[in-house]
Each structure stands twice: as C-alpha cells, then as structure tokens.
Amino acid sequence: MSLSTSKQAGRPTRRGARPAPLKTTDPRSRKPVFTIRRSLGIAGFMAPAALFVAVFIYYPMISGSQMAFRNWNLNDLTDTSWVGFKNFQTIFSDPVFYTVLDNTLIWVVASLVPQLVIGFAIALWLRRRFRFRGLYQALIFFPWAISGFLIGILFRWMFNSEFGVVNDLLSKVGLIDEPIPWLAEPKTAMVAVIIANVWYGVTFFAIMILAALQSIPDELYEAAELDGAGKVRTLFQVTIPYIRATLALTVLLRVIWIFNFPDIIFGMTGGGPSNETHIVTTWMITITQQGDYGKASALGLIVVALLLVFSVFYLMATREKKGARS
C-alpha cells in the first residue's frame, strides 16, 4: 500500500541505495474488509473456544492471582482480607524456598542438557533413511503417551532400593556391591528423578530437531563437501547455524515446561526425602494441599515473574546473535 502511494506522489525511489524492504502483498493474506456479516461470522466461530477458556482458565487464573495478596487459607476462611505482600514475605523468609530454588535450577539444567545432546544425536542419525525408520520413530515416541505421573511411578518401582531392577542390573554388571537406597537419599533421589525426566524428554528434542534438519537444502551439504569441510566442521558451520532458530525456540519451550512440570517428581518422590527433591511447582502443590491458597498463589506469581524475566533475556540473547550474523 505505502509503496504504491509513494510512487504516485512522484517521490524518488531509492531502490539502488536500499533493497526494497517492502514485501509485495502476500497472496495468502486477505485484506480485511469490514462487513457486519463477516465480523459476526468470525465472532461466532471463535465464541465457544473463547467462552470456555475465559470461564474455566482465565477467570480462575486471575482470581487466583489476587489471592496472592490476601489471607486465604481453606482451614480458616473467616478473615480473607487484603494483606499486601505478606504472603511473599512468608515465602522469602522460608529457608525451604531457597532449597527449592536450587533444586529447580538443577532439575532444569541437568534434565535439559542431556535431553538436548542425546536428542540431537538421535535426530542426526535418524536423518538417513533406513528400512524401519518410521517404526523406530513411533517406538521412541511412546513415552509421550504416558503421563508424567505414571512415569514417576514406573521409575519409582525401578529405583526401589530392595526389589528395584536398577540396583539388580548394576550389581550384575559389578558396578555396585550393595544396593543403593536411591529414593531415600537426597542426592541420589535427585539423580533418579532427573534420569526419569531425561528418559521422557529426549524424544521431544529428537522430533523437533529432526524436523528442522529435514528442512536444510541438500545443496548446502554438497557445497560444504566441495569445500572439503569435514563432518565436524559441517555440523558446526552448516547444520547448527541453519537450525539455530528452531533450536533456540525448542530450548526456551522446554525450559518453561520442565520448570512447570511437577508430575514426574510428584509420582516418584512426592518431593521427599525431607523436601530435598521439591521443585517450585511440587512445593506449590504441597502448599495447595495444606489449604494455604494465598501462599501458593504468591509462589505461582513468583514462578511467572522468573519465567518472564528469563524468557525476555533469553530472546534478547538469541536474537542479537542472529542480527550479527546477517
């Protein structure tokens, strides 16, 4: 639109100085024509979805957020007055909060890195066609059909200190002499829940990265081969730069999900032994179950704030590099 008007006004176009940044009209985008019938149609199609989400998700979420500033305890609802930031102060002065923060950081980083590395490797190896590739993909996809809670239970049984198969296998191979009480010790319990999470999360990375890899044109690899680039160099200078946007987005999504993913820990240890495997969201569930909705909501808002700050910084960091490249 603006391109054509400037031409009509007879202004000099500086096409030589600058490659025209204005895109010609995308054939897919439809020009909004405002007719009452059209608007009613759009509204009618959107209405059921909007209604459900507004009533059962947004309303409780917003009213939950204001509980963070109230004295709201299910055990005593006689006084639900506004208390300002008291719930936040309670959290910040609770030593458990800092244990929980540490755990959450370990949980996110130690789960994410192996998921990314193993998932990347699988995706690279799956790029080549082989006979049972479709079947293989379907098989490694199956952890996704199981709920996080059940995964927790599956691994709780395998990490059982007396009759668990993990201890049995380790002693058969000769790595341990006596059974490890996995879920009873804080350190080993954390290792165990992270192993379960890695088991679950690798597939997601493999699938996302494989889809991105398949979008790389073959010519790029041909060019790299002609230039005599070896396998490792091709990986770092062709493959990774090409799929960087997808990688960055997938990592961001996973950080948010893993942060908000209490299911495995809930099923496996319930946050124990003595709060040592609690992450922010499992702690939040415990507080909710104790009936202190005010405190739980305050914790929820802290989570949102942390994730928001992280996302902004992360997006800034990944975008800057992109700008520098072009």
Binding site: K31, P32, R38, S39, I42, F45, M46, P48, A49, F52, V53, F56, I57, P60, M61, G64, M67, A121, R128, Y136, Q137, L139, F141, F142, P143, A145, S147, F149, L150, L154, F155, W157, N160, F163, V165, W199, I207, A211, A212, Y221, E222, A245, T246, L249, T250, I256, N260, D263, G267, T281, M284, I285, T288, A296, S297, G300, L301, V303, V304, L307
Partner: protein, 278 residues
Amino acid sequence: MIRKESFAGRATRITFLTVWLVITVFPLYWITITSFKAPGDIFTFPLAYWPKDFSFENYKGLFSKAQFGDYLTNSLLVAAVAGTVATAISVLSAYVLARFEFRSKTSLLMAALVTQMIPSFIALGPLYTMMTQLKLVDNRLGLILVYIAVCIPFSTVMLRGFFENVPDALEEAAMIDGCSRFGALFRVLLPVMKPGIVAAFIFNFVNCWNELFLSVTLMNSDANKTIPTALNGFISSFNIDWGSMSAAAVLTIVPTMVLFAFASRHIVQGLTSGAVKG
C-alpha cells in the same frame, strides 16, 4: 545426507539407536513383567526377568478389591466426551485463525500461548471455589467442562497449522461452484483435514485420560474417580502394593499407546510444524 556412510559410522549409528530403543522400551517391559508375576513372586530374589508362570491375579484383584471398573468407565467417558467437544470447538476457532485476518487475531493467539506458560496450580483454588458454587464439584460433567477448556488452546494452535497446509484454492473452487463458506468448510475442507483432526482428537483424549491434578482437586468420591486419581490414592498409603499398581499402570498405558501408534505421524507433524516455521 549425500555422503557415503563408512562402516564404522554405520556401526556407531546402529549401536546408538539400538541402545536408546532398549532404554526407551525397558521401563514398559519391566512394569508389564511385574504385573504378570504372582503377588508373592514380586518380592523374591533373584529378580525374575521373565515370570516363572504368568499370573493374572493382580489384574483380578484390581476389579474385585478396588473399583477399577468404575475408574475405567469414568476415565473413558470423561476423556471421550471432553476430547470430542474440545476438538470440535477447536476446529472452528482454528479455521477462523488460519483463514481470516482480523484485528484481535494476534492477541487471541497470545492468549492461547499464555495459558501454556502460567503454572495451572495457581488456578486450582479458585476453580474449586467456583465449581462448588456451580454445584459441579465431584461431578463428571464438571470435570468434562474443565477438560474441554484445558484442551482448547493447544489443539487450536495445532489444528491451525493443519488448516494452513491446505491450499485456499480448494475452498474457493467449492464456493465458486455455489457452496456457502460453511458448506465449503464441512463438505470440502474437513474431509481433507481428517488425519489432522483425528490426531488432534487423540492428543486431547490422551491428555484428558492422563490428567491428574485437576481431577484430584475436583473429584472426591470413589465412584467418580478417574484412573490417575485412583493411582494417586494407591500411593498415599505408606506401603505401595506394587502388584496392583503395576497392573493398573499397564491398563492405563496400553490404550494410549495404541491410540498414539495410530496417529504418531500426524501428531509429530502437528507438534513440529509450528516451531519449524518459527
């Protein structure tokens, strides 16, 4: 891709992929084997990697001691109804978001994304209060309504991706031939989209089938519990009865695995299309 693979490379690849496959499948194998051991055999040394004789006692116990039949019916009913309604509603919203330009479109998409970012536990308390006022606590209809709402945002985004893969020309041709926009959607577009819609339904069904925290909050009585809530009840006691637990776990996992196997290709496509496009 074009490079010829060396023998060592091929060996590494096959070894690695095989090892990962074994790691992926093993937990399922182990829980299944456990479920078919006689209750006494689960706790004997040495651990048996193949049961001496297959026993169905754990499964029988589920239905005689616990009301597993009820849980199964509840889960099936809730997931099927919520999954169907949520998919139908999402088809409408996804269609509009894929085919029309309008002012509030970006904010609507953002609103859908935000629901995925905020921890849902913040909504549990007020949701419980609200459902109590509506007399929908401990009520399957109540749980269905909530599940529909929970499914809508993601399945809308997923279906929108599928709609965008179908060229506009298809509907335009139908409309030139005298179809209304509604007619074009139902007679021409939806049949083409069938695999995508089935994938979205399966995704929704499995999510409702697996959901735990909302169901724990909203369902109190034993007769209304879904399977995950019942399993959570199995844990609460100090000693977990691993025989019943493993049998229940197998019965929970098998239906979802079968469904996923049917639709995995399309679910994968739905999950990846959004992110790869950026």
